[in-house]
Amino acid sequence: MKNTELLTIRSGDTGMPYEWSIGKYGSRFFREIREHQRFLGIRCPGCGKVRVPPRRLCGPCFRELDELVELSDTGIITAFSVVNYPFIDPDTGLQRPIPYTYGYIRIDGSDNIFSHIINETDESRIKVGMKVRAVFRKPEEMEGNIRDIRYFEIIR
């Protein structure tokens, strides 16, 4: 990855001929993870909200954004679910490994929530309000996609 490179995501290995543009701020988000192991958000000058991942448009205000905000690698669980049923992942054509915990994390310093996975599948050991920290891939293994964040772990 060069510092100015605009990234795309390829669909899985099953030959789906799709290629999605991440855009310039999303590409910056993944570079920030690789270089500093922290998140990047963006502030809307209209509503003042900081949202992560950074995107170029605020839907409610219908305006363009450009004020990137450096955030940490920690947050709070605002909602979660432990997924127990099998299904085929359309990105890979394979069954997604279960159980896994789908979590909504409010990254510290942001006003919205970020969807990812949490590495705790025992529902008695996970609660809304718990503090979590992102665990990243090693920088040399990063590919510039959402899997560069391996999961969030609960800080106990």
Partner: protein, 387 residues
Amino acid sequence: MARRVAIVGTGQTHHKSHRLDVNGREMIHEAVTRALEDCELTINDVDAIVIGNMDHFESINCVDTWSVEGSGGVMKPILKVSTGGTTGTSVAIAAYYHVASGLFDRVLAIGWEKNSESDTTGAIITCSDPIWDRFSYSGAIPSLATEASAYMKQYGATQKDAARVAVRDRTHALNNPYAQMYNRPISIEDVMESAMLAYPIKLLDVCPRSDGACAVVFAAEEIAGKISPRPAWFKSCAARHTTTWFGDVDYDTGLLSLQRAAREAFDKAGIRSPADDLDVAELYLPYSYAGLKWIEALGFCGPGEGPRFIWDGNTDMGGKIPMNPSGGVISTNCIGATALLRVAEAALQVMGKGGKRQVPDVKNALATGFGGCWWSDVVVLSKDRPS
């Protein structure tokens, strides 16, 4: 000035998990034929058709053209509307717009789905953002489950509270021979002991996957009374779609799209106190916890009061505001038809054609749609012609 519009006929299939005896077109034809029979019209009387189902579900696209031999759309204007779970209310609202505009007098709205032919979870995953959300998203159930987890934390609601909602809807389905779960009542213990699909949602907390179709005939004010002696007048509607970033939803403020849609539709219809001014509600509640939280967004009770309101029996048949006399979405979910079924069932109640599931003396009936990324539609029907 918009013309007044009424629903004059409805038709639906007998919903099942697998309708191997029909293809999608033939299933649509069953619903259309029943709707036309209900109002004693023929397909030649229909000026235009609005049809919808879920994008990508059966892996059949351009369903508006593909289905014409079943919909009756040969050589007619057809519009396809597909808005995810709200598709059914969207086709109803679009049919209303057609007639209210003055350009069409009789319009047929159709919603359908053949879930047995679809990879439902896979298709729903492809509705989510491919860069950010698809990696962790696993379809409708865990998304709703996260909402439930936040609601339980905020107000102390329990899994048992939610089970009470599932039991209500499945009990009501005893009166509806069209429901997939007809004659299959459940108890709170059954719900609590059913398999945990995605905490805190268990198998019996959530809708089934159904094959089915629904059709509704809309008519202009000048002819509605001639077609039906007791039409269901389309009093008001509203739709609210939010952004589709899953992370931009604020769970703690309630279901915002439904709050806003309800406020607009109720203002237009003169509904000031929903629990008093409405007589029956057919709500798109795809899982039991929605029956606690979303009735708060509609103003039937205050924030956090959903569980008490349900346990007090207010929403049972014979209660203050009966909800889902049909058995609701927990008893039948042919997704593209599901929200149109809410409108059709609300119309049946207003027209006095509810059979065993009829609520006595219905004047005003509510129907809702839910889908997409926390999107909501609201429709109010009335026995009284709008002023």
